[in-house]
């Protein structure tokens, strides 16, 4: 969701009520992004708290060059990825310089209104399916396809080559598409084509 610029400016000027309203208006988006990246509610709640600690500290320096929600998504990405890096490598990153990789807009070309409304309905089902992806695939997919980060930025964030990001990304998309189609055919009472494909591929893994 977009936030009124005047509300942000009021919070920057030290208006506590405006700051509280800013938190209320945005915290679910921050929590959702953190949960998609981290995969569990406890870590997502911790990251959300850390995000707002950083926001109150850094909001004064926010210059409205991007929208506030874009800036907030970047902060969330940085905090979440720092947490993930610490968790996976057990190495603290001090002053990590994760870049501003969240795009202002991410639009698939040529989407008509009917496609858009179908996409929203599908998105709710995808939310569950995304969480079943292997962690590396899930993070790449969430950063790139949900939050619109460039392949190069995802690669930097995750310490991978752009080629490796694409491999994970394409596998994640293939897997999700297959799962989505499998659930649809099952609901229609048809034996899922996906079962046959899976058998033929012989347990191919990312």
């Amino acid at each position: 969701m977009e936030v009124d610029r005047r509300l942000v400016e009021a919070a920057q000027a030290g208006d506590r009520e405006a700051m509280s309203e800013l938190v209320r208006a945005t915290h679910r988006g921050v929590y959702s992004q953190a949960l998609r990246l981290l995969g569990n509610p406890e870590d997502a709640a911790d990251v959300t708290q850390d995000v707002y600690l950083r926001v109150v500290r850094k909001l004064g320096g926010f210059r409205h060059e991007a929208s506030f929600t874009t800036w907030l998504a970047r902060v969330t990405t940085n905090v979440a990825m720092s947490t993930l890096t610490r968790r996976s490598r057990r190495v603290a990153i001090e002053g990590g310089s994760f870049a501003d990789g969240v795009a202002e807009t991410v639009a698939e070309p040529d989407a008509d209104p009917a496609e858009r409304s179908e996409a929203i309905a599908l998105a709710a089902r995808l939310e569950t399916l995304v969480q079943t992806l292997p962690e590396g695939q899930r993070q790449v997919l969430v950063l790139r396809d949900v939050y619109g980060m460039s392949t190069e930025e995802v690669a930097r964030q995750m310490g991978l080559t752009p080629g490796a990001v694409k491999v994970r990304l394409f596998r994640a998309r293939e897997r999700l598409k297959a799962q989505l189609e499998a659930t649809e055919t099952t609901e229609d009472g048809v034996v899922p084509l996906q079962e046959r494909r899976r058998g033929r591929r012989g347990g191919r893994r990312a």
Partner: protein, 151 residues
């Protein structure tokens, strides 16, 4: 075996990795190869359409919000209330000496508008949040709002 022979022999595995790519993710030669293949292969064109549909749905996920655990919001608001941003940084960000006066005026306007609109905007959201005990649950967005974001 050349790429063209693979297409002619019906070996779709050659283009399968390309089908999952979005625009700009392929090298120009790969993109040309794929476009050429799709123009002649209904089966792969259908696959590509499926990936396009997936891409739109993933993009739409950003507009969906998951329900945070109860109590999280209260903690966040408390954090926000305790701390103040540095007014000197605000002035620097605005790049003008009169910025503080301007933002103070805007803040006053906002405060009065919020008093007028207590039944709208974020307050029902907060009430809804406090009523819902479970997590995480999904809040479907208003269609119009998601469409506006997508534009």
């Amino acid at each position: 075996m050349s790429g063209r022979d693979q297409f002619l022999s019906g070996d779709h595995l050659a283009v399968r990795p390309y089908l999952a790519a979005r625009s700009g993710e392929l090298e120009p030669a790969q993109a040309r190869q794929l476009t050429e293949h799709l123009s002649r292969c209904a089966s792969c064109a259908a696959e590509a359409a499926g990936f396009h549909r997936l891409a739109l749905a993933l993009e739409a996920m950003r507009g969906l919000e998951l329900e945070p655990p109860p109590g999280l919001l209260d903690g966040l608001v408390a954090v926000a209330a305790r701390r103040r941003t540095n007014p000197r940084l605000v002035a620097a960000a605005a790049g003008a000496g009169g910025a503080l006066v301007a933002t103070a005026v805007v803040a006053g306007v906002l405060r009065s508008r919020r008093r007028e609109a207590t039944a709208s905007s974020s307050r029902p959201v907060l009430a809804r949040l406090l009523r819902r005990p479970t997590s995480p649950t999904l809040n479907l967005p208003v269609l119009g709002a998601a469409s506006a974001r997508a534009r």
